[in-house]
């Protein structure tokens, strides 16, 4: 497997770095390797794990579904409040998909397209992709809507759309947060600052939105 893991890296670094030398807070004499030198050695790509990679690949499909869900709001007559929310989710998660793709591309990993239909098509066409990379497999990720739920949302109108959108998006967001929880409990994961910052933002944004959606849901009757 092509994933760089900690062990070999640490062996290399161990010979260059006096581990833990700066605990006393004194100067460079004790620290032969600066962060800049270390970054230059690994080409600006800090250590990451297989779990980091499959999280990014999976989360692209997860986000793609949220973008598709949000795209129905306008045509299905969502209330202004839900339209604002859906608009923001769509912008946010589209940008995050681009970030995850760029992160994977830099590390020369498979980059899922981030488009629900293309991903599903790739799967049906029997392309050789790992399970986590396909849209269809993505439906098995936590919080993903089932095809039946997606069909319900697609045809719901007005107040009913609001209710289904909020209910399903809460489920979807909770799933994303549990994916982060799972990643964070894996050995060595999210030591890369980009990954750590990204998952922290996902949790902060989506938990704020869950709270907001629950408030919105309280004033809307079940269809």
């Amino acid at each position: 497997m092509n994933i760089r893991t900690y062990t070999p890296r640490l062996l290399v670094l161990g010979s260059l770095l006096v581990l833990g030398a700066c605990a006393s807070g004194t100067t460079a004499a004790k620290r032969p390797l600066t962060p800049a030198q270390m970054a230059a050695l690994d080409g600006g790509i800090p250590p990451y794990t297989a779990a980091d990679v499959s999280f990014m690949q999976g989360m692209i499909g997860h986000h793609a579904q949220a973008v598709t869900m949000s795209s129905f709001a306008e045509a299905n007559g969502a209330s202004s409040e839900v339209k604002v929310l859906a608009g923001r989710i769509s912008v946010a998660q589209t940008d995050e998909i681009a970030f995850m793709q760029s992160w994977l591309r830099t590390r020369k990993k498979e980059v899922p397209s981030g488009n629900m239909e293309q991903m599903a098509h790739a799967h049906h066409a029997g392309m050789d992709m790992s399970a986590a990379q396909t849209g269809a497999a993505a439906t098995m990720m936590p919080g993903m809507l089932t095809p039946a739920q997606m069909d319900t949302l697609k045809v719901a109108k007005g107040g009913a759309f609001d209710w289904y959108f909020l209910t399903f998006m809460i489920q979807h967001h909770r799933g994303a947060i549990s994916m982060v929880d799972e990643l964070m409990s894996a050995k060595g994961s999210a030591n890369d600052d980009d990954v750590f910052k990204f998952v922290s933002d996902v949790v902060a944004d989506q938990s704020t939105e869950i709270d907001r959606m629950e408030l919105m849901l309280r004033t809307r009757p079940k269809p």
Partner: protein, 596 residues
């Protein structure tokens, strides 16, 4: 304080001000800005990007020091510069891999004093006397400041919380304590207690996940109704004994979110509005993780308040009992995503909250992004409540290759106005006026082109603050920028000189200092310049006041005092009937001080 700035702006006088005379010329356009906006279409590059500036001038830009600069990877995520703190002639600049200290005795040539290696994002810094406090949040941060990260799920080597350094010898900082917290520290706020000179306090805001109780005893991510010791829905307060900072420890974990259910939301439609005063019953708990943490807490000790930017809420806190801050009010807003930081007006009557929608790494200033999203929201205090007034966002559209959203800034000490400088990541920095909470407008800006013209490489200004006469900006990838603010139709020379009279001994972004101006003629003339710009008062009256000020300044000793007291008496008499009553009273106060 409400000021009639709308009428002021309808016809703006151009002031040509000398020490002895103020000549007024009228200009027709109130918010004249360069057109087309030079910020659009700037050349991409790392240290050679195109720049645009208006009403402010870059006086120096200093690359990160050798330890923190990897020339082979533009925008290396491990080497991001973060926030700034100031002490005397030193500026402390956080970095994801440690922190640097610059001597700014000569702002046009900052000199490196120390580059301290100690990874653990985001290294937000706060300084007090000989102590430096640094936030550590990432799972890769080590107690021993090593570079190798922490692989194990549970490890005693992991550092998440507040690192405390003794910087009495800034060339040789000493680590004195590492206060571990359950969620780590994203940012931190230094709080002093007027009743307690032995200790200072640190409010810890942590926005990342709660760690396992195996790693730090007592940490729990369960809902508070399941586990009363939950690390959620609270902030941590660390007490730091000044005589023995090594004994710093958590003294309280106030649950400032308790009972926080619905709050005031400003929605697109009146039907979206809801209100719920603090203290009334709320739902038992918030599913998901809800409003469980703050991002920044800005204290304003002068009025005994703090503004907490906490998940989906802007929170007003009473900090008169420093260890036990109490929530007075929580505002929520449909257009606000991630409440980020707070700035009070100098009189405490207004609060500006920023919204770091997307966490600062996304391009949210594109022409297609709504002006209300990722913007500032300006509120007026109404007793213990906050009334929403307006949004303000960087007016120049940025490209898809530039991460951009509202971020850190501070007030510029111009008497009688709320003028502040703010950073917008790769949107650059700008200076704007929010004296009229309904109509903020831009006064000056500086911007660079994107790091990379074809893909987004995260960079830009993390923060920009006014400190003793200059504006300092921490650029994530490019280093430390220093600017001079220039006089313009929106800021007179007198106002700028008055701003430079305010000297801070130290400045921490989340510890807002009260601005107090010494008695000076430029302070008095700041008010007359503002009245001239405003045009609400009658011109002959204002010319008379300005002439009396000029004559008084020329006079010496007792004659000057007599002239000033006479002017003050007239101002006190006229203040009541003036359309600029508050400003006339403020002018009178300065004139009286000058007479002493």
């Amino acid at each position: 304080m409400r000021t009639p700035f709308r009428s002021l702006l309808r016809s703006i006088p151009l002031l040509t001000v000398s020490a002895t005379a103020a000549q007024v010329a009228l200009s027709s356009d109130a918010h004249a800005q360069p057109s087309p906006d030079p910020r659009v279409g700037l050349k991409a590059g790392w240290f050679d990007a195109g720049t645009a500036e208006w009403n402010m001038k870059l006086v120096s830009t200093t690359k990160p020091s050798e330890s923190f600069l990897n020339m082979s990877t533009p925008g290396d995520a491990r080497l991001k510069n973060s926030d700034l703190a100031f002490n005397g002639n030193l500026v402390f600049q956080g970095n994801y891999s440690g922190w640097q200290v610059w001597d700014i005795a000569n702002p046009s040539k900052p000199k490196l004093r120390t580059a301290f290696v100690c990874p653990g994002s985001q290294s937000d810094v706060t300084v007090y006397g000989n102590l430096l406090f640094v936030s550590a949040e990432a799972v890769a941060g080590r107690v021993d400041c090593g570079l190798e990260g922490v692989e194990a799920e549970v490890s005693k080597d992991r550092a998440r919380g507040i690192r405390i350094f003794d910087i009495s010898n800034v060339a040789k900082p000493k680590s004195v304590a590492m206060v571990q917290t359950c969620r780590g520290s994203h940012t931190n706020t230094l709080v002093t207690d007027p009743k307690d000179s032995e200790n200072v306090y640190i409010y810890v805001s942590g926005s990342a996940g709660v760690r396992s109780s195996e790693e730090l005893a007592g940490c729990s991510a369960l809902a508070p109704d399941v586990d009363p010791n939950s690390a959620l829905f609270r902030i941590e307060v660390i007490k730091v004994p000044l005589k023995n900072p090594a004994a710093a420890a958590i003294v309280s974990s106030p649950r400032i979110f308790e009972g926080l259910g619905e709050a005031v939301r400003h929605g697109d439609a009146p039907g979206d509005r809801r209100e719920r005063p603090a203290g009334s019953p709320a739902r038992p708990s918030v599913a998901g993780r809800g409003p469980t943490q703050c991002h920044d807490i800005t204290t304003y000790p002068a009025v005994g308040l703090a503004g907490g930017a906490c998940s989906g809420y802007g929170i007003l806190l009473d900090i008169s009992d420093v260890k036990n801050p109490k929530r007075l009010y929580a505002a929520a807003d449909t257009n606000m995503s991630a409440w980020h930081s707070a700035t009070f007006s100098n009189d405490g009557s207004k609060v500006l909250f920023s919204d770091e929608w997307g966490g600062g790494t996304a391009p949210r200033c594109r022409a297609t992004d709504k002006k209300e999203w990722g913007a500032d929201a300006i509120f007026v205090r109404n007793g213990d409540k906050l009334d929403f007034k307006s949004y303000f966002k960087l007016p120049a559209a940025q490209s898809s290759q530039e991460n951009c959203v509202s971020h850190n800034g501070s007030l510029i000490p111009i008497p009688g106005r709320e003028v502040m400088v703010q950073s917008w990541y790769q949107g650059g920095v700008n200076v704007f006026d929010w004296t009229d909470p309904n109509h903020a407008f831009e006064i000056a800006f500086f911007d660079r082109g994107p790091m990379n013209g074809s893909e987004l490489v995260s960079a830009g200004h993390w923060s920009a603050y006014w400190y003793n006469g200059h504006i300092y900006g921490s650029e994530i990838a490019r280093g430390l920028d220093v600017w001079e603010l220039l006089p313009s139709e929106h800021i007179s020379k007198n106002e700028l000189e008055a701003a430079k009279l305010v000297k801070f001994g130290h400045f921490n972004p989340q510890e807002q200092p009260q601005l107090v101006w010494p008695a000076a003629f430029v302070v008095a003339r700041s008010y007359t310049d503002q009245m001239a710009r405003n045009t609400a008062v009658q011109k002959p009256w204002l010319s008379g006041v300005v002439a009396q000020l000029d004559a008084a300044e020329k006079a010496k000793g007792a004659a000057r005092a007599t002239a000033l007291n006479k002017l003050a008496a007239q101002l006190d008499q006229d203040a009541g009937g003036s359309p600029e009553s508050a400003r006339v009273k403020a002018l009178s106060a300065v004139v009286k001080d000058l007479a002493k």
